[in-house]
């Protein structure tokens, strides 16, 4: 499996699913969703993506894939992206 920057341990398939999840819902570039293409990512992007999801879901923004974050990611949900238009900052109205 391609190795990803941002962490010194090879990521298991399990982690790739989280990459796919974050890409599917707008926290990472959509290209990450394509499992056939290797995707080098720096750590800060990875941690920022996790932190953004945690902030949106009302969790502690640790930037780490902790248990609580994994639990929320496993909840059934709507398939529409949380961030419409990748990279858009969520302007609070």
């Amino acid at each position: 499996a391609p190795t990803f920057g941002g962490t010194d341990k090879a990521m298991s398939n399990y982690d790739i699913d989280f990459q796919m999840y974050l890409a599917q819902y707008g926290y990472l570039s959509p290209s990450v969703k394509n499992p056939s293409s290797g995707h080098i990512m720096d750590e800060s992007s990875w941690r920022r993506a996790i932190a953004e999801f945690q902030s949106f879901a009302g969790l502690n923004t640790t930037g780490e894939l902790d248990d609580e974050t994994i639990n929320v990611m496993s909840l059934p949900r709507c398939g529409v992206r949380d961030k419409v238009g990748f990279g858009e900052s969520r302007a609070k109205r």
């Binding site: 949106f56 909840l75 059934p76 949900r77 709507c78 398939g79 992206r81 949380d82 969520r90």
Partner: protein
Amino acid sequence: YALQGSRWRVKNLTYKISKYPSRLNRAEVDAELAKAFSVWADYTDLTFTQKGKGQVHIEIRFEKGEHGDGDPFDGPGGTLAHAYFPVYGGDAHFDDAEVWSINSKRGTNLFQVAAHEFGHSLGLSHSDVRSALMAPFYRGYDPAFQLDQDDIQGIQALYGHKSQIDIGGGFSQNPKIPRATTQQPASEDPALCSDPSFDTIFNSADGATFIFKGEHYWKLTENGVAAGYPRLISRAWPGLPGNIDAAFTYKNGKTYFFKGSKYWRYNGQKVDGDYPKDISEGFTGIPDNIDAALVWSGNGKIYFYKGSKFWRFDPAQRPPVKSTYPKPLSNWEGIPDNVDAALQYTNGYTYFFKGGTYWRFNDRTFSVDTDDPAFPRSTGYWWLGCSSAPRGTVGGNAR
């Protein structure tokens, strides 16, 4: 809340269900999806009309796996459904691999998920308010579901407030005519129909009619109870407890609620100052633990009922309650003692409710109205849309 950036330019929208779920009754799906649309219609001037075929604004399909839009579903759990914003067509797709359910803790509640998806079809993106309908996560069946303020602000940012007042429970001006056909989708509530008594009934300042029972409330339409009810009193009127004794809305537009020795004043659904207060403080001369209260159509004064007695409260007089009160309730000829509720309805007539029956009062003769069928009548049939309730007179005539 977050707006995607597009919305419909028209407010009368049409939809069709091109592909139904494989494991639910079609008529039930029609009713649940109409209820899901009415969640948004309640707070805006949007209307939603179902079509059988042809060109519509919003197409609804239940599909499995890859279904032609490049965004395949993933089987049970995970992604439940998705919808397209108005600029992308507004359609809504539901994963038919899910166990869709209606009014049940089992499976995934179709009404709640559909109401969420239709929020997208109208231009709402996901909200980061966890209690909002537009939060992305499904958190289980909620029998007392209602929109969060965040959702209401979002949809009204797109389509404005509801301008026309939907007259709740509106008999036609001539109350002799049973329920007119209604525009608003209505439904009958099985629990309420099996015991059609309630704690109180009142009109809000904008003309809607509500009934309170225990911790819950229902909004009445022209031929029954509005879809999507019951809801929790405490979520709509923050700070107000359940099991309310009586309520009325005065000509100052404020709504007064009574329970035990206390009363509350609300401006719409916002508490209007430091409440609760003692009834003896704000309504001197009126006892605690009243049964019912109304503003009488005959003279605009406020009447309170308790047991076999009644009191008249006139805010313009000092004292507001004359020493000649209380008087025997039998003065209201034909009305029984110990009523549950009373109201001056939006058609100008005065109604009294007890158990599952009600009486219409004739202000001119100062006695129960004569009509066919005679009173008392079944509250379930005439007010709550209970198809199984009797249309005619119920039980022996009152005294």
